[in-house]
């Protein structure tokens, strides 16, 4: 790699405080409780991972942090501001400080790569065209796709689309980057690139990172702190080494990828024997 993007500082400032605080959050959809007393914090300038079996509400948690949904009770603080009480205009102000990487990239399909990355700049600033061009090319260079500036989203592979989306979410220099399942469906090379980029954004730019995923292996390399959510609460928290030796059954099942355990292999069903011998319904 001839350019300097490979150079990543290895030391970082000590944690000073938490950028996001979630306190005793309760949230239910259609009478089904998703969170019942969820409490966790996301330290500033660090990589925090949220893990958990499918359907535990990981994406819902992101919707709560970004103010797309409101909790039934409890507090969600972003840099001291209570997200759920903000008016739409204030929420939009706050979201300028967050960048979000969607699972599929969510690029605007009627614009090329360059325009996608330029989109937030054109919407929120009155920068001259020459400066926008420089910013966009810098961001694309950081994700290694300066040469793809003129491609349309349909011409990109899954990994490339996610890297463009990352460049776009960095365009406004946010305080926090949120990654929703960034590794899903990627080949090992693309996955390696995304892992490197997440770390690079965090180490080099000091951006607080929140990674929601269930790819235990990747997160073990990346995350400073991991939370495992199960049953609407934090089941375990700590570094990956701490989680590996955790005595909770659900944590053990999740981290070691066991097929059966507290999360059963079988979906709840009537007795097998009786159902086979019984009358067809």
């Amino acid at each position: 790699m001839p350019h300097s993007t490979a150079a990543v500082p290895t030391t970082r400032p000590a944690v000073t405080d938490n950028l996001v605080e979630i306190r005793d959050v309760h949230y239910s959809v259609g009478g089904r409780a998703i969170f019942s007393g969820l409490t966790l914090s996301i330290p500033r300038g660090r990589i925090t991972a949220i893990m958990g079996p499918s359907g535990t509400g990981k994406t819902t948690l992101l919707r709560l942090i970004t103010g797309q949904s409101k909790p039934d009770s409890g507090q969600i603080l972003f840099d001291g501001l209570e997200v759920s009480t903000l008016k739409l205009r204030e929420l939009y102000e706050l979201r300028r400080r967050m960048g979000m990487l969607f699972q599929n990239g969510a690029l605007l399909t009627d614009m090329d790569v360059f325009e996608n990355v330029a989109f937030p700049l054109r919407e929120h600033t009155k920068l001259p065209e020459s400066l926008i061009r420089n910013v966009v090319l810098t961001k694309l260079q950081a994700v290694g796709l300066r040469g793809a500036a003129e491609l349309m989203p349909a011409e990109l592979s899954g990994g490339m689309a996610r890297r463009v989306a990352l460049a776009r979410s960095m365009a406004m220099d946010p305080d926090m980057l949120i990654y929703d399942e960034p590794f899903t469906g990627l080949d090992p090379i693309s996955m390696g690139m995304i892992v490197r980029l997440v770390r690079q954004m965090n180490y080099a730019l000091g951006i607080t990172s929140l990674v929601v995923s269930h790819d235990v292996e990747e997160l073990s390399i990346l995350a400073d702190t991991s939370y495992i959510i199960s049953g609407g609460k934090v089941a375990a928290a700590g570094t990956f080494v701490e989680l590996k030796d955790h005595d909770s059954e659900i944590v053990n099942q999740f981290i070691n990828g066991l097929a059966d355990g507290p999360v059963p292999f079988h979906y709840p069903a009537p007795d097998y024997y009786q159902q086979l011998l019984g009358e067809p319904q």
Binding site: R95, A106, F119
Partner: protein, 255 residues
């Protein structure tokens, strides 16, 4: 379910949908001033909804005019008044066929394109991504498309009518030999500005209805392939029915 319960259920659905459409329209109007500061986006949508519909509108206009010429000539010949072909055909096109057929074609071409485009943006998280970038999708996506349709349809209606009259002329004057002087002079004498206004008003009302339905259905589509398909179908069906109902009401009012 009893008939009464079914009626009650569908009335309640109708009222709740009307409420949702009204609220959606309110949100659109709130964002209108901000959207007007970006005329480039609106012009782009006038191009998408209007200019790209031109070929189909012109082709259909020519053939509708041609059929009107054939039938009109046959009918008027029986009364010995084929010189009135220009007047009869022009009034039929300006007051009824022009606005209605253009709106139906518009719903099929531009309306479905709008609904499926916005629906797919919903299904692929593009609208959510905009919200996350602090960009209101109503302002950035919905308002320019709504205005694009609203501006395009009256213009397309006028073009349809003009091409239609040309089609009548081709059949009536050039094929059947109706006297061109009486064809044009009778038309000019009989058609009044109020007739043309009726056509333009209808085009504007239909443009409003078709565009609002298309953006509403697209924006509220269930984010799946089936949901987007259903939104597209509903756009055409609801637009067509509303255009015909509104046409009756407007004709009755402006008679």
């Amino acid at each position: 379910m009893s008939l009464f319960a079914e009626l009650l259920e569908s009335s309640r659905n109708f009222v709740s949908t009307m409420g949702a459409v009204t609220l959606f329209f309110g949100r659109t109007m709130v964002q209108l001033p901000a959207a007007l500061t970006r005329p480039g986006l609106i012009i782009e949508q006038v191009h998408n909804a209007g200019a790209l519909s031109l070929v189909i509108i012109m082709t259909c206009g020519l053939f509708v005019g041609g059929v009107l010429g054939l039938t009109g000539y046959d009918l008027l010949l029986r009364f010995g008044s084929e010189d009135a072909l220009g007047t009869a055909a022009a009034l039929a096109l300006i007051k009824q066929l022009g606005p209605v057929v253009t709106a139906l074609l518009f719903a099929g071409r531009a309306g479905t394109a709008l609904a499926s485009e916005i629906g797919l943006m919903r299904a692929t998280d593009q609208l959510t991504a905009m919200e996350m970038m602090a960009v209101d999708p109503i302002r950035r996506v919905v308002v320019p498309r709504f205005l694009g349709g609203l501006i395009s349809l009256p213009l397309l209606t006028i073009i349809f009518i003009a091409i239609g009259i040309f089609g009548v002329q081709v059949v009536g004057v050039q094929q059947f030999g109706v006297d061109p002087a009486s064809f044009w002079s009778q038309m000019r004498a009989a058609v009044e500005v109020s007739d043309i206004m009726e056509g333009v008003i209808k085009g504007t009302v239909f443009g409003f209805a078709c565009s609002l339905i298309a953006v509403y259905e697209g924006y509220n589509a269930i984010p799946t392939a089936e949901g987007v398909g259903r939104a597209t179908t509903r756009t055409v069906v609801i637009s067509a029915v509303l255009v015909l109902i509104f046409n009756y009401m407007l004709t009755a009012v402006m008679l």
